[in-house]
Amino acid sequence: MSTELERAVTETVTEEELEALIGDRALARDDHKNAPGFVVRPDDVQDVLLDLREEAGFDHLSCVTAQQYEDRYESIYHLKKYADPTQEVSVVVPTSVDDPVSQTAEPVFRSADWAEREAFDLVGIDYEGHPDPRRILLPETWQGHPLSLDYDQEKPQIVTLTEHANPIQPDHRDEESDTMFLNIGPHHPATHGVLHVKTVLDGETVADVDPDIGYLHRSEEQMCQQGTYRHQIMPYPDRWDYVSAGILNEWAYARTAEDLADLEVPEYAQVIRTMSAELSRIASHMLALGTFALDVYGDFTAIFQYTFRDREIVQDILEDLTGQRLMFNYFRLGGVAWDLPEPREEFFAKVRDFLDDLPAKVAEYNDLVTSNEIFQIRCVDTGILEPEVAKQYGCTGPVARGSGIDYDLRRDDPYGYYPNLEWNVVTEDGCDNYSRVLVRMQEVEESAKIIEQCIDLLEEWPEDERNIQSNVPRTLKPDADTETYRAVEAAKGELGIYIRSDGTDKPGRFKIRSPSFHNLSALEEMTKGEYIPDLVASLGSLDIVLGEVDR
């Protein structure tokens, strides 16, 4: 890395510097609430993005949003810095309605590969020069683009199946070796849901992987576009990453919508939010550890059951607090739905009991899992994801931190009550499956620290200042064409939401940046040339939830 670039990565780039950098290529400004936005021509995309990455240090293409207006299509590239995610810039690329062709960003950011495929699939923008311009969420034979304005929502479609061929057979067939095409999934014990991995095997070695997603696509973005800001959207984030990370997802929506409508959140509610979110994170990481052990160990073995037992305690606590075990629907814009359950002492005691037992349990997992030599030979140095590659693919969360990328939005882009609490961001430098497991296990301990501090605060909180919701109007109608993109650190990584308001009480465009989606796109890099068991283990260590990948 050159010294100049290092300077660019760490130092704040001012808007003037950005303007100077983009120069004439900027046709206009289209600022979003979170970041300055520059409108560029469709054939300048790579050029501008490359400059922003190389000169200004924006090395994280967080999200690609595509949308259609009456008069144009628009692709928005939301850029951030891994070193400082509060520095953001949006590159807005309008294209005409008649001929929506835009230059691909894939050569600059690998994460644009899948993101632009999704944009093509759902909205219908063609990306010129894209190496793999296929649909991604919908079946290959789907007609039309569901989020484009002229799409007929009512018309049912019968989707025919195309046969899977061995895509790399022609160039892998010689006298010496021969490849075999293998469908792993959508019904397979180790795909954590309905994921289909098209695998080409050379013996036991993985020669090529192509994750085929979309089996669980439920049009979550569209459902949110049809719900009112105030109430109807909040139940749905629970259903993206549905394995107990619901509260973290709700926070993503809450943060974005509160930013959009300029809502305040009382401090007391922030503490409750922080506590419940971290409980959610513990539950999610427990499950991640359990299912990863399942993938490596084989049958439903002890570790899976033990992690489930401990997750159950967290879920009981969350049930007391929110009223449900998975689909919490606990946050409201401007606060939370309930105060802590009465009697409060009982609730605090329950949480404290859990926290007191946790170190012993973590020690037990260390005995059981991480110190086991066979576990180590299975996980160390398998599924390697180099930090530079991880950044290219937009990996975040424990996957990035397992590759030594010190990136955690709770600290780097503070929200909630996190800045006032004492805790650490866990990173491991191994870049392998083992590091990712270690990161998750240590994050459980860090979350426990946060919860403990929150409990202390809540116990002391004066009774007349327990304000759980600020005053929010019954109907929210943010000004037309306000746009914002906000992200939080969800269980799997950076969960971002882009909302454009159109002056009504429902969002004009609601785009979800799913961490699992981007983490999964790196699977190919991690597993090529490894064995099938490593493919399964790597998939497990990514800890994807298909509900979030497919949305």
Binding site: E204, V296, F300, N372
Partner: protein
């Protein structure tokens, strides 16, 4: 039947049956019927044990390791689940894949289960239960249990399923890699006993090794050569495909390996065959390392059953706590580790026995 020659002293189970029922008066035909009856009894004993182990004990043991309750609704301790499961499995539709290579597909389950059953023919189970006692008993057991590999690769190949094929190939690679250490380690026992005959091996272990406070500790080969014992258990785990060496099935990797396409009766046979192999492995360990049916107070056959169940328990214990190794690691451990250790053990044993003798 299979025993070409019988030792004059041992009073074998078929003869006993023949004498008891008076069949011996009818000459060869009577002997043959008696032999069938004896084989029937032993075979059913083993099948009954696998029947208990498969649907019931395995669940109970796994549940204990994972803090759960497991089957307890049907019958005392849920024991009647065995009947329920048998009915359920047998009444299911036997789905045969369109491109299955028959009759290999149909034969494979029989080969897998049958090869293990054959092995029990020469095991001295105590209380006079031994069907045959050929001079090459140990070699015979290794030979017939090795047939299972053919069954597995038949199942894997004939199912016309890629996962099955991978499982079948893995099974062969694994069995070839671990058969040799298994046999070589077994041979080190033969050096001690000076015979391949099972009854002789058991007798050789009856002598007291040393006497501590009036209690005679028998010279079981597990005590004389614990290193060989551990090696043998490891190789045996791989041979029967249990954790950490369950890669031919590897549910999370290749679905269920060679048995992916099997259903109903065929599945029961393959499943039984696996358990029979675990028990045969246990019987072998009990016979050549743990003094066979020897033990105080209780009759020999009870001790024998306790010992093989202990081995079964051990496999389940491993299953609860040890991850599966990868295929390349497995092969590496087999050829670079186990084989070398097995030969080292063999040579060392030979030298020690040679020096003492």
């Amino acid at each position: 039947m299979l025993a070409p020659l019988q030792n004059g002293d041992t009073y074998l189970f078929p003869e006993r049956i023949a004498d008891l029922t008076g069949l011996s008066e009818y000459g060869t035909a009577g002997d043959l019927v008696a032999a069938f009856i004896a084989a029937f009894i032993v075979g059913n004993l083993m099948l009954a044990m696998t029947g208990v182990a498969g649907p019931w004990a395995k669940r109970k043991i796994t549940a204990a390791f994972t803090d759960r309750i497991a089957v307890n609704r049907i019958g005392p301790f849920g024991l009647l689940i065995i009947v329920a499961d048998a009915v359920r499995l047998l009444s299911k539709e036997n789905i045969i894949p369109e491109n299955a290579d028959r009759p290999a597909y149909d034969l494979a389950p029989i080969v897998v289960a049958g090869s293990a059953m054959l092995g029990f023919a020469v095991i001295p189970m105590g209380s006079g239960v031994q069907l045959a006692d050929p001079e090459v008993g140990l070699a015979y057991v290794f030979a017939v249990s090795g047939i299972a590999s053919i069954g597995l690769v038949m199942a894997g190949y004939a199912s016309a399923n890629k996962y099955s094929l991978l499982g079948g190939l893995r099974a062969v690679a694994q069995n070839v890699a671990y058969e040799i250490p298994l046999v070589v380690t077994g041979m080190s026992v033969v050096i001690f006993a000076g015979s391949l005959q099972m009854s002789t091996i058991v007798e050789a272990q009856a002598e007291p090794l040393l006497t501590v406070a009036g209690v005679a500790i028998p010279s079981w080969y597990a005590l004389i050569n614990p290193f060989a014992f551990v090696l043998f258990i490891m190789a045996n785990l791989a041979e029967v495909g249990r954790n950490p060496f369950d890669i031919p099935e590897a549910p999370t990797e290749i679905v269920a390996g060679y048995q992916t396409e099997y259903s109903s009766v065929y599945f029961v046979l393959i499943y039984l065959g696996e358990f029979l192999h675990i028990f045969l492995g246990g019987a072998l360990i009990a016979t050549i390392f743990l003094g066979g049916p020897a033990g105080p107070v209780l009759p020999g056959i009870v001790w024998f059953i306790i010992k093989i169940w202990a081995v079964f328990l051990l496999t389940q214990w491993f299953r609860s706590a040890v991850p599966r190794v990868r295929i390349d690691q497995l092969i590496e451990i087999g050829w670079k580790g186990m084989l070398v250790l097995a030969f080292a053990n063999f040579v060392l044993t030979a030298i020690i026995v040679g020096l003492i003798a």
